[in-house]
């Protein structure tokens, strides 16, 4: 049984990687702009659909490069036309707007691509287990893990070592002061929103290769990602990464002993964390570590 647990911890990390991508995007937008983006799952699905459409022309890998940026461009358009008007208002406004947008995304994808799922294929060389004994570790899973690790590293470099990233971090602490120092806050928020959507779009492309691609696929990742942020601590990107991985692992391990509780376990985990440390494992109010 112990080897079974270890195997499922490994697979939990792979699943958790998808939650990490989603949660990082959500967290970026929430921390700087105070927007609870319920439409994030819709952007994830959109990334998958755009990749499906592009893959006929540029292949899966080409689509993996292009689709997240196209999703981000759409995200920017929505931020410019709708989201931006709600900055500084009660979060309830943005919550209602993005909740509505989530439905519009689902119906929009249904209208454009149909209600039934689509068969996203991955390159043959990735669709193989790495060995007979490790049959459940496919090259595609390792590929996903490597991509997510690379993206997390790039994001941390961006936030810690670039002027834009430092401004974003400063903005999460005190946006008014950042604005008073002459920083274009509008542009900063737009850029930040675009990065968040880019991560969702990337998650959508990767997920569509391993899981289903249909209009409701984003729902699978949205709630675990919110919980990852809460468990890791609002404001902490490192905490968000850890939260996503922990949820993936907890779900995987619970599956071994009590499959019917594999979904409930993340809520239990959130409840326990909130009881012991209400700010989450690494959370500091208004801070981005």
């Amino acid at each position: 049984m112990s080897s079974l647990v270890i195997l499922n911890v490994a697979n939990g990390v792979v699943t958790g990687a998808f939650f990490v991508l989603m949660a990082l995007g959500l967290s970026l937008i929430l921390n700087l702009s105070g927007i609870i983006n319920f439409a994030h799952g819709g952007f994830l699905a959109l990334g998958g659909y755009i990749a499906f459409a592009l893959s006929k022309y540029v292949g899966f890998l080409g689509a993996l490069l292009l689709a997240p940026f196209l999703a981000a461009i759409l995200g920017l358009a929505i931020e410019w036309t709708l989201i931006r008007r709600l900055y500084g208002r009660d979060p309830l406004y943005s919550l209602l707007l993005t909740f509505g947008l989530a439905f519009i995304f689902q119906d929009g994808t249904r209208y454009l691509w149909g209600a039934q799922g689509l068969p996203m294929a991955i390159p043959a060389f990735l669709a193989q287990p790495i060995s007979d004994s490790l049959f459940f570790v496919t090259r595609y899973r390792l590929f996903n893990l490597a991509i997510v690790a690379l993206i997390v590293a790039l994001l941390f470099v961006l936030l810690r070592h670039t002027r834009f990233g430092i401004r974003i971090r400063a903005g999460t602490l005190d946006l008014e002061t950042v604005a008073a120092l002459g920083v274009n806050v509008r542009l900063l928020r737009s850029f930040n929103f675009g990065v968040g959507i880019l991560l969702a779009g990337l998650g959508g492309v990767l997920a569509a290769g391993q899981f289903r691609l249909d209009p409701t696929m984003g729902d699978d990742y949205l709630m675990p990602s919110f919980i990852a942020i809460i468990v890791g601590g609002v404001g902490s990107l490192g905490g968000t990464v850890l939260g996503g991985l922990l949820i993936g692992i907890a779900t995987g391990v619970t599956t071994v002993y009590l499959p019917s509780a594999s979904e409930a376990v993340m809520y239990v985990m959130m409840a326990v964390v909130l009881l012991i440390r209400p700010r989450g494992l690494f959370g500091e109010e208004g801070m981005m570590s």
């Binding site: 039934q116 799922g117 391993q210 289903r212 019917s260």
Partner: protein, 417 residues
């Protein structure tokens, strides 16, 4: 300057002109007069148009719309046009019940059709029987709909889970062996399918293991690791819709299709379209299939659906089509919309070949109101020629042969006084 009439006073000529115009309209537009006497017969369809079952639900709507168009082109229903009112249950029991009440109380529909989700269909049946409205369950499979939860006014077009299970079970035992591992969704439909398959398997001396898996699970590696460790002849994948797509994609990516067969009851054409070629594998049942070269009417039905959707007809298209026709045919036969009279007439009612669209003309069994439809058992494969040619039918199983006897279904019909 000519003296005019005071403003706002109608002249004699104006009144005469208006009268003449009204008279001319009565002659020139007889349809207006006719329409007054032709209140449409309303059919309400409740299905989950949003959510995970949206694709199959929408295909039921397409089939129902085609039937309505055909009926209206011909004699209509009791000589009146048919109007289809479609409501979204959003895959939620409360919403489904609320929409059913709205259709009956406010829109005054004469017949209710739906739902894809058995739980919703069952809850809707509570409303329709209370309101004494004929109810045709188009696509909810759980046994209880025409079993322990049956009702005098409820008739079902799609098969029971037991029918589909029995149709494929014997073939699997004979062809592949008696050691099975189940991936079963943890709700009524999954439990019902597994119970029926296990009954058949254990009767044949087989063994099994399996997992009850929450709906909406995306990661199946833990279950597939356990399945491989058990070493079954067949992996029975009962997961539905997007869950089935997720589990089958991972089954193939792990290379397990080289070690064991995969099978189950339904792998609907909508789901087959949603997986890549390599995951179009395994042995399954279809409840209707578009490629039946020797069956009259199928080609025309398929072409009509293709004109509307751009793709081959699915079982769900046929469910919607047959549901509407069932109501129209029996109403025209009985010349009434009285639900009790229609329900009595439907008990044992045989679908005509042009609606049945299958080798045998199935009938609604009198004892439980289940349509004894043919089950198509076969193997999934990547497209060959036509993009929807992804299933090879190996055997046709008569519904009566695989349905539980009425006395074993638990159905006890209680008719209103």
């Amino acid at each position: 300057m000519k003296a005019g009439k005071p403003a706002g006073v109608l002249g004699r000529r104006s009144v005469l002109k208006a009268g003449a115009a009204i008279g001319a309209l009565q002659v020139a537009s007889p349809f207006i007069i006719q329409a007054r006497g032709e209140m449409p017969v309303k059919i309400g369809l409740v299905d989950p148009l949003t959510g995970v079952y949206a694709a199959i639900a929408r295909n039921e709507v397409v089939g129902a719309e085609l039937a309505v168009a055909e009926i209206n082109r011909n004699a209509g229903m009791l000589g009146r046009p048919v109007e289809l009112l479609v409501e979204d249950s959003a895959n939620d029991v409360g919403t489904g019940v609320q929409k059913t009440r709205k259709l009956i109380d406010r829109d005054e529909v004469n017949v209710i059709i739906g739902d894809v989700n058995s739980g919703i269909a069952q809850a809707m049946a509570g409303v329709t029987s209370e309101k004494k409205v004929l109810h045709i369950v188009s696509g909810g499979h759980t046994d209880t709909v025409t079993g322990t939860g049956c009702s005098w006014n409820v008739f079902r077009v799609c098969n029971t889970t037991t029918m589909d299970s029995n149709a494929v079970a014997d073939l699997l035992i004979e062809k592949f062996g008696k050691k099975w591992y189940f991936l079963t969704p943890d709700y009524a439909y999954g439990h019902s399918v597994q119970a029926a398959l296990v009954k058949r398997l254990t009767a044949a001396g087989g063994t099994y293991q399996g997992d009850l898996i929450p709906i909406g699970t995306i990661e199946y590696s833990a279950y597939l690791i356990k399945a491989k460790a058990f070493g079954p002849n067949v992996l029975i994948d009962v997961m539905g819709s997007g869950d089935q797509v997720n589990s089958l994609k991972q089954f193939v990516q792990f290379g397990l299709n080289k070690e064991m067969q995969v099978s189950g009851t339904l792998f609907e054409l909508e789901s087959l379209r949603a997986v890549p070629d390599e995951a179009r594998v395994g042995w399954w049942t279809m409840e209707w299939w578009w490629d039946q070269p020797n069956v009259p009417g199928v080609k025309e039905f398929n072409a009509a659906i293709k004109q509307r959707t751009g793709a081959a007809a699915t079982a769900r298209n046929w469910f919607g089509y047959a549901s509407v026709y069932t109501a129209a045919l029996v109403a025209n036969q009985e010349k009434t919309l009285d639900a009790v009279k229609l329900a009595h007439a439907l008990s044992g009612f045989k679908l005509p070949p042009e609606v049945a669209l299958q080798p045998a003309a199935p009938a609604y069994r009198a004892g439980d109101h289940e349509l004894m439809s043919t089950v198509f058992v076969g193997e999934a494969h990547p497209p060959q020629g036509d993009p929807d040619n992804m299933f090879k039918v190996h055997s046709l199983v008569a519904g009566e042969k695989v349905a539980s006897p009425v006395e074993e279904t638990g159905c006890k019909l209680q008719w209103p006084a």
